[in-house]
Symmetry: C2
């Protein structure tokens, strides 16, 4: 993934150097690359070729990187650190970070529609995938979810509303990552339905896992120490406690993995991703026991 992303970001050089550096900073070293890896894994399950899948995977990761840069800005979360490093606006200034986010989002759609990347796919399918990704990161997905989240700040919201926000803010792009891979590979409609359910459960699980990690352990401490300025947002563990959140996480991951059973061993990479999401949030037994006694 990193090699492919590097190749693509290199191709964007030769214009304003400052914005290019800010865009690259948003992409590298990057996080877990879960979304693009989902695209590759779902695609390969149905026999997709890596060279067909990579442009989609890269575009999805660029969209994810844009959303983080904008999310970190003072106008939204006002975070000074991300993954232990200064956020883009701390390094390049707010204006350049704003433009770098815009640039990454635009570059993603530019890549998705690039003829040289899509040689072996039908233009109609590529158009449909652009539409689906646009849907997942638009009003009904990422941007709409962010807006709901912002509206909900400092308000009492219930679990249903939290799930509603999660499904949009995080779930939609994870679902689209999975579906895009499967559709590029030409998965049939029954397979697509099944893999979509896998993606839906995984997307919600992913956000709950993130919130659990936020609420406990080293990562939380680290963030408190130097990163996040305030934590006002409603999360699953904040409403039902860490114990119940972990139960819900386990159940979602179980449901997610269950969808993969007809695919046998070929779905092992997708199973591994689900287990990885769970392991990160459920691993710290000592810490979580303490928290479970004082939820």
């Amino acid at each position: 993934m990193d090699r492919a992303l590097k190749r693509y970001i290199k191709g964007l050089q030769g214009h304003s150097h400052a914005i290019w550096r800010a865009m690259r900073y948003g992409l590298f070293p990057g996080g877990k690359r879960i979304r693009p890896i989902l695209t590759l894994a779902a695609g390969e399950l149905f026999g997709g070729k890596r060279k067909d899948l990579l442009p989609f995977a890269c575009a999805i990761e660029m969209i994810h990187a844009y959303s983080l840069i904008h999310d970190d800005l003072p106008a939204l979360d006002d975070d000074d650190l991300r993954r232990g490093e200064p956020t883009a606006h701390k390094v390049f200034g707010e204006g350049m970070a704003l433009l770098a986010g815009d640039g990454l989002l635009t570059a993603a759609f530019h890549l998705l529609s690039a003829p040289e990347q899509m040689k072996s796919l039908a233009p109609k399918l590529v158009l449909e995938l652009i539409h689906e990704i646009g849907h997942a990161v638009g009003m009904a997905g990422l941007v709409g979810g962010q807006a709901f989240d912002l509206e909900a700040e400092d308000k009492e919201i219930d679990l249903a509303m939290i799930e509603y926000i999660h499904v949009r803010k995080t779930g939609a792009l994870i679902l689209a990552s999975v579906r895009t891979g499967a559709r590029v590979a030409g998965a049939g409609s029954a397979d697509l339905r099944r893999i979509s359910r896998y993606g839906e459960f995984l997307g919600l699980a992913f956000q709950i896992a993130d919130d659990i990690m936020d609420a406990q352990g080293e990562e939380a401490e680290e963030r408190r120490e130097s990163g996040r300025k305030e934590q006002k947002k409603a999360t699953y563990p904040a409403v039902v406690g860490v114990v119940a959140a972990k139960e819900r996480l386990k159940e979602l991951l179980h449901q997610s993995e269950k969808q993969l059973s007809p695919f046998g061993g070929a779905a092992e990479p997708l199973r591994a991703i689900a287990r990885y999401v769970g392991r990160r949030a459920l691993r710290d037994v000592r810490n979580s026991t303490v928290q479970e006694m004082h939820p």
Copy 2:
């Protein structure tokens, strides 16, 4: 144009209401709608159908609206007023304005790839147009130009650099508006080259006209009184004076109109747009005479 935009923005309802209102605020009442009108006029010159052209015209105007919302943010120009009304972030807050810009940009690509809008066009052409529009508003165009502009702030820059920035920041999307219309209508390659030169000259003329109006007349006074907090950016009239800027504007508009001569009376709408751009900047004779005596 307004009817079509209203219809489309209506279809985006049903999610976060706050962001929807901010997006609509960015689109209405709107400005001169020059870009989408160029798409329609260029398309109709080559026999394009309005219903095929409108989705492209709307998407282009949504991209323009996104760029204005983001440009007005404190991180960039920090403008309180646009067209005499409070800017989006003054009404909806910075976070929601940021998201509304993101939402408009995303919605534009979502619309461009919508199957129901593109029924009578070949998917390959639609993909190519998405790619061209993405190019025009990405690193080599709008976003890259904005970044250059930001880098150039408070620096001494020469006329070549100013034109370089203008061509990207303003020219690229105006050129794409013209070309998109012509390509939707199936213009041949010689016609497309000609109409592209029209768009290139017009795009640069448009920005110079804007800067001339900024530098003189009521609009400048109005802005000084209540709107723009600082005017640090290098412009054509600031470097060569209003007189020379007007000469350059006239020459560009002349070159622009000249490209239309083979099309005869059918190109009258495109000629009228060029004349309109000139009239707005050149109209105030008394004022401009005063300025010409003291450049």
